[in-house]
C-alpha cells in the first residue's frame, strides 16, 4: 500500500467516525484529501475499493439509505468500531500473555499478536514475558505451544469461521486411493499434535472426521457464508477421539531373551524367569496385528509362543521384512 493511499484511508476512517450524520459519497470526495476531483468514474472506483479494504480489516461501515435522498450516506458507528473498555487483573494479564504465545510461529500467531497489540493500545496491561506466568512453577517454568503446520489449516479455519462448505482430496488411513470429499465443517480439533476437521460428510451422508495431514492438495471453499449449520451441542472432541479399544482380556505368552526388552517387561502382566536364558512374559493385547508390529520390531530378542493368531501375525511380519 502506498503512503498516499494509507494517508487517504486513515483520513477516511477519521472522517466517517467523526460525522454525526451519514455522508454521501460526493461529500466524502471533497472532505478526504486524495480523491480524484475530475473524473467521477475514477472516484467511484477508488471509493469502492477503499470501502472494501476498510471492511477487510474489520472496520464496520454503515450504509444508510434515506428515502428522501437519492444517494446513500456512509458513516462508521463508534460503538461498533471501538474496542470496548476492558481491564485485566495482573493474573488475568499473565494468562492472556501466555495464551498469545501458544500460537508462536503457527498460522494464528499473527492474529494473536494483532489482538494483543489492540488490547495494549486500549491501555490493557498484558504480560507477554513468560516469567512469572507459571506462578507456583517458578519464573518461566512453563511453556505451551501448538503447531498448525498443516498446509490445509488456514483454509479450513477460514471455512469454519465463515461457515462455508469445503472440498478436498483425501487419502484415508492406509488407503491406496485418493478421493474427493465434500464436507460441511463443524470445527477443527487438535488431538495429540494432529489436527482434524470434523463435520458432515456429504458423500457418506454422515458425520466424519478427517486428519489434515492426509488432505492432499488445496482446500476449496464454496457456498455462501453462513450456509453450514453446526448442530447444537455437537462434541467435536468426541468425533476425533479414538474409540477406546474394548478390553479383550487376551494375553500373549512371549519368550524374552534375558537382559533385553526392558520396556516390554515393564508393560507385562507377569514375567517368569526361565532356565534356558529366556524369560516368559504375559502381555495383555487386543489386536494381534498391533501386537505383531511391536513384537516384530524387537527382532530376535522375543518369540511369541501364543496364541497362534498372534504368533502367525509376527511370522508374517518378519517374512515381509525379508522380502
Amino acid at each position: 500500500m502506498s503512503r498516499r493511499k494509507t494517508e487517504r484511508l486513515l483520513n477516511l476512517v477519521i472522517c466517517l467516525l467523526a460525522t454525526r450524520r451519514p455522508l454521501p459519497a460526493e461529500q466524502i470526495r471533497h472532505a478526504v484529501p486524495g480523491y480524484d476531483r475530475d473524473s467521477d468514474e475514477a472516484f467511484q472506483r477508488m471509493f469502492e475499493r477503499d470501502k472494501n479494504e476498510l471492511r477487510e480489516i474489520g472496520i464496520p461501515i454503515d450504509v444508510v439509505r434515506d428515502p428522501w435522498e437519492d444517494e446513500p450516506g456512509y458513516r462508521i458507528e463508534r460503538q461498533s468500531y471501538e474496542l470496548p473498555e476492558i481491564t485485566l487483573e495482573p493474573d488475568e494479564a499473565a494468562v492472556l500473555g501466555m495464551a498469545a504465545q501458544v500460537w508462536q510461529r503457527a498460522s494464528l500467531a499473527e492474529a494473536a499478536s494483532g489482538a494483543l497489540l489492540k488490547l495494549r493500545a486500549g491501555g490493557v496491561h498484558t504480560d507477554d514475558a513468560l516469567g512469572g506466568v507459571g506462578g507456583g512453577l517458578g519464573g518461566g517454568a512453563l511453556e505451551l505451544r501448538v503447531d498448525t503446520r498443516d498446509p490445509a489449516f488456514p483454509a479450513l479455519w477460514q471455512a469454519v469461521r465463515d461457515r462455508k462448505a469445503v472440498r478436498f482430496d483425501y487419502r484415508g488411513a492406509g488407503s491406496e486411493n485418493v478421493h474427493t470429499r465434500t464436507v460441511e465443517p463443524w470445527g477443527v480439533v487438535s488431538r495429540r499434535g494432529r489436527w482434524y476437521v470434523a463435520g458432515y460428510d456429504r458423500d457418506r451422508e454422515a458425520p466424519r472426521a478427517f486428519r489434515l495431514s492426509r488432505i492432499t492438495g488445496p482446500v476449496t471453499t464454496f457456498g455462501r457464508p453462513g450456509s453450514v449449520q453446526v448442530p447444537e451441542g455437537v462434541d467435536l472432541r468426541a468425533m476425533v477421539a479414538f474409540p477406546d479399544e474394548p478390553a479383550s482380556g487376551r494375553v500373549a505368552v512371549v519368550r524374552v531373551r534375558q537382559g533385553t526388552c526392558e520396556g516390554l517387561r515393564q508393560l507385562a502382566r507377569a514375567v517368569r524367569p526361565g532356565a534356558d536364558g529366556w524369560d516368559e512374559a504375559e502381555l495383555p493385547f487386543t489386536d494381534p496385528e498391533r501386537l505383531a508390529g511391536w513384537m516384530a520390531s524387537l527382532g530376535s530378542d522375543v518369540e511369541v509362543a501364543g496364541p497362534p493368531d498372534a504368533r502367525e501375525a509376527v511370522i508374517r511380519r518378519l517374512k515381509g521384512a525379508l522380502a
Binding site: 468500531y81 494468562v95 489482538a115 494483543l116 512453577l137 503447531d147 520390531s297 524387537l298 518369540e303
Partner: protein, 321 residues
C-alpha cells in the same frame, strides 16, 4: 506487522497506544510494534499529516517526538483501538480454552482463566465466541509423574527417573536437573539437563516410569540452554545419517509420525521417504515393524541388517516350542 499492507491497522493501534501511554519513548514503542525506530518515525510523520475534514492545522493530529519522548494530541476520533477481529479474538480464546484444559496450569492460575475468557468474549462480540468454540485443542490428562516433577521444579531439586524409550524398547535410569515444563501439541514434557546424556533433553511425563525427588539441589551447568521447540519437539540432528525407505499405502503412517527430510509420492499410495535416523537400532526396529509394508532402500548396509535380523528371528519360530 511491518509490511505495508498492515500499515493502516498498525496506525489505528499506534495512535490509541500513544494516547494511553503519554510520553512513551521512541525505542520502547518501536519494540512493542515490531518496528525499527526509523519506521516508527515514518509512521508518526504520516499520522501527523492526517486528521479531521478541513485539514487546517487545528484539525490535524498533533504528534511530537522531541528528545525521543512521544506526545500526541488532537486524535480523539481514533483514540480507541479497533475492536478485535474474529480471527484475533478466536486465536486468543482458543488458546485460553486450551490453557484451561492444561492440568499444569489449571491448578496454578485456575480462576483467572474463566475470568479472562468472559472479558474477551464480551470485548469481541458473538462471532468470535462462536468460532472459538469450534476450534479445540485436546490436552492429555495430568500424567502421574506431574506432582513430583512440579515439586522438584518448585524446590529446585534434582530428579531421579526411569524413562521408557519406545523406539528402542529401553528403560534407562537418569538423573536430571529440571528446568521447565513444556506442553506442546497436547503432550507434557519436562525440559531438563540430563546427566546421562550430558545435554538438554525433553522427556515425556507419561513415559516416566518412576520419579523420585532427590535431596540434592538442582544445579544445571552453565551451558544448559532452553531447547527451541518452535519447530517441533523432536528435531533430528543434521549430523544423523539419512535413511531412505519405501512404504506402501499401509506404511504411510511413517511419514505422518516422524519428521522427514523428503517425501515423494510413487503412485498407488506408495511413498519414498528420506529421514534422519538417530541410530541404526531405531531404523532396524522400524523396518521389522513395517514387515511387507515398507523396506529400507539405502544405505544398503542397513537393508542387509534388517534382512539378517528378520532371518535370525524367523529361526526362533522355525523350531517348535
Amino acid at each position: 506487522m511491518s509490511g505495508s499492507a498492515d500499515r493502516l491497522p498498525r496506525l489505528l493501534a499506534l495512535v490509541p497506544y500513544l494516547m494511553s501511554h503519554p510520553g512513551a519513548q521512541v525505542g520502547e514503542v518501536a519494540e512493542v510494534f515490531g518496528l525499527t525506530e526509523k519506521q516508527l518515525i515514518d509512521d508518526l510523520q504520516l499520522v501527523w499529516m492526517c486528521g479531521l475534514p478541513g485539514h487546517t492545522p487545528g484539525d490535524l493530529i498533533d504528534v511530537s517526538w522531541d528528545g525521543g519522548e512521544i506526545l500526541i494530541d488532537n486524535a480523539d476520533t481514533i483514540a480507541r483501538p479497533l475492536r478485535l477481529g474474529i480471527d484475533e479474538a478466536s486465536a486468543l480464546l482458543v488458546a485460553l480454552r486450551m490453557l484451561a484444559a492444561t492440568p499444569e496450569l489449571a491448578e496454578v492460575r485456575g480462576d483467572a482463566l474463566p475470568r479472562v475468557v468472559a472479558k474477551l468474549e464480551r470485548a469481541a462480540g458473538e462471532g468470535a465466541a462462536a468460532v472459538s468454540s469450534q476450534v479445540a485443542v485436546d490436552v492429555d490428562a495430568a500424567p502421574d509423574a506431574l506432582p513430583r516433577v512440579r515439586e522438584a521444579l518448585n524446590s529446585r531439586r534434582r530428579l531421579s527417573l526411569r524413562y521408557y524409550v519406545p523406539g528402542r524398547d529401553e528403560v534407562t535410569p537418569r538423573e536430571v536437573d529440571p528446568m521447565r515444563i513444556v506442553v506442546a501439541d497436547g503432550r507434557t514434557y519436562l525440559e531438563c539437563w540430563c546427566y546421562r546424556a550430558e545435554a538438554m533433553r525433553l522427556f515425556r511425563l507419561d513415559r516416566m516410569l518412576g520419579v523420585e525427588v532427590l535431596d540434592e539441589p538442582a544445579n544445571p551447568p552453565a551451558e544448559a540452554e532452553p531447547i527451541d521447540v518452535a519447530q517441533g519437539v523432536f528435531r533430528p540432528s543434521p549430523a544423523d545419517p539419512l535413511v531412505e525407505l519405501e512404504v506402501t499405502a499401509a506404511g504411510r503412517w511413517v511419514a505422518e509420525y516422524y519428521p522427514c527430510e523428503q517425501v515423494t509420492e510413487l503412485g498407488e499410495g506408495r511413498l519414498r521417504i528420506s529421514l534422519r535416523a538417530r541410530d541404526d537400532d531405531w531404523i532396524l526396529k522400524l523396518a521389522l515393524r513395517l514387515g511387507d509394508t515398507g523396506r529400507v532402500v539405502s544405505p544398503l548396509r542397513m537393508a542387509e541388517r534388517v534382512r539378517e535380523e528378520a532371518e535370525r528371528s524367523l529361526e526362533l519360530y522355525a523350531r517348535q516350542t
